[in-house]
Symmetry: C2
Subunit: 369 residues, 2 copies
Amino acid sequence: MKNKTLLMIPGPTPVPENVLLEMAKSPMPHRSPEFSAVFDEVNEDLKWIFQTRNDVFVFASSGTGAMEAALSNLVNPGDKVLSLVIGNFGERWAKIAESHGAIAERLAVPYGEVINSVDLQKRLEEDVNKEIKIVTMTHSETSTGAVNDVKALCEIIKKHGALSVVDGVTSVGAMDIKPDEWGINVLVSGSQKGFMIPPGLAFLTADDKAFEVHKQCKYPGFYFNWSSYKKSLAQHTTPYTPAVNLIIALHLALKMLKSEGLENILNRHRTNAMLLRNSLRKLGLKLFVEDDSKASFAVTSVYPPEGMAVGDIRKILKNDYDIIVANGQNDLKDKIFRIGTLGFVSERDVLTVVSALESAIEKAGGRLK
Amino acid sequence: MKNKTLLMIPGPTPVPENVLLEMAKSPMPHRSPEFSAVFDEVNEDLKWIFQTRNDVFVFASSGTGAMEAALSNLVNPGDKVLSLVIGNFGERWAKIAESHGAIAERLAVPYGEVINSVDLQKRLEEDVNKEIKIVTMTHSETSTGAVNDVKALCEIIKKHGALSVVDGVTSVGAMDIKPDEWGINVLVSGSQKGFMIPPGLAFLTADDKAFEVHKQCKYPGFYFNWSSYKKSLAQHTTPYTPAVNLIIALHLALKMLKSEGLENILNRHRTNAMLLRNSLRKLGLKLFVEDDSKASFAVTSVYPPEGMAVGDIRKILKNDYDIIVANGQNDLKDKIFRIGTLGFVSERDVLTVVSALESAIEKAGGRLK
């Protein structure tokens, strides 16, 4: 049987049927009052889900494009960037900074752990000459399932004076993150995550302090230049051809999210993730991030039972139950597997994946508990 | 009556119904053998439509993203770029070069005209110290409907030794353009044009000579870095999350194009554009680019009849006949209107727009001939 796949990965996440059909309408001409009316509502609703009063720019790109857009608009060659690294996506910030000529210093912890705010405070206190211009971090680290205490970290960064640049790709719309209240200067996210639409759009919000630094950027590039998006947004449009059909899909998905309500959405993600975590524990499985207070509600990393291969579990889940879970990335490949509970995922989906996982492990000859 | 819109603009262009429905399938996980199999076919078919043996990279971005990707991978601050400007999109190349710290010199002609190869030859001969590193140009200039003689211009550039960087956004898949044969070093295009899918994907192909220059680029950035795409392509995937649903749509659209055949596709665009041009002339309308040999087959710019406003014509076409044609851009706004014959456009569509235009002008009280 085909076409009955259940996506339990941290992206792309499941897309509601009505959103898929909305996306399948013939493209709307983007320089039209009809498109501008839709786009205005999208922008209002993005501010709501981003919990910010500032503009949220929409790029036709993947989430990494928005990460690039965050740093390419701020960094001059020779600038110093401190990257807080708890996984692959934390490391990506450092690489992007370097690709624009910045000197990236890593404050790293073993994968699965999170940044201790005391360590950050110590490092920034040592920076007496205020050489560090930007501190980058990941909120929910998709490669491990660990979650940084963004609020505490940004408070420390604010005191130092550097800009905080935060990857909220798998956290916005899934876990509480408040840029205005917490003093996050730049926050980015991507469409195929909590936004319940396919990949191809990315989002960025920057506050006034970040815009001041942006003005000093010598080579900001063109396609991701914040100033162009800000100017066009005031004219109810985008500077370059938008990914129209994805924006039409986003328009409907945001309406659905709004009618669910932000508190309910965040509760749903917390409840589903905790149900998954506790069910996995009951099955006798070991979680990669054991401490619930450091765990993402978007993605949960799990060790396979002893003596069992990640590949076998994933294969049975896929072939027998049409359920896709993710492998680990890079060094964690075949060491852990990752189950997404992000976006359009219900409690039923969590029960389903737990049940199928139990059967898959039994079929693979594994012993639980 | 709603939902019966006929898009006769140079992008987004009409999308076949089966392609829209293909795009509406649930997102496929992109790190899977199933996606890689589709992606491999897409890459083969892109080489076919681009008439190149080199890789064609697929970006999640609009066409401007691919233009950025062309220059951000080549330019170092202080480099000299010669931009051949025949319209807004020719000017865009110069702005992108400047946003990366290059010094952009414009060789410009009045909008509606094209670059004379003698002028380019003269300018490049003056450059005895070979300071000009890159020459940018537009093939089919979407803002005017004029078309540069890319073959002749690239031959001159090749002799000089600079790199040629060509915008084929509204020409690839609509007008003959042969990067390998003509010595085009970098060629870009976008999905909502000849490719018959919605906006959100952009394409770039670069030859070995361009790659050699790329290796000397100090700050190539991250998201559009050619080397990452080249490496991932060899592994049957993309470096960052691809816009999966658009690629699935592209996969089907390319199969349809292939079954039509390249010669037939190019003939269809030529025939439709010439039918439109001659019909407009018969109606007594004046074309912005009068010389057929300098006219794009993707988009035709037309003056309104004397004493009649572009806005009125566009309004009647839209309200009474559900046909969308484009206004002029910037200085040409309300001076000309533009009719697209690009992508999934048939001879019937051309007859329809001509007939509706005749009626619209009569309704607006205009006198023809």
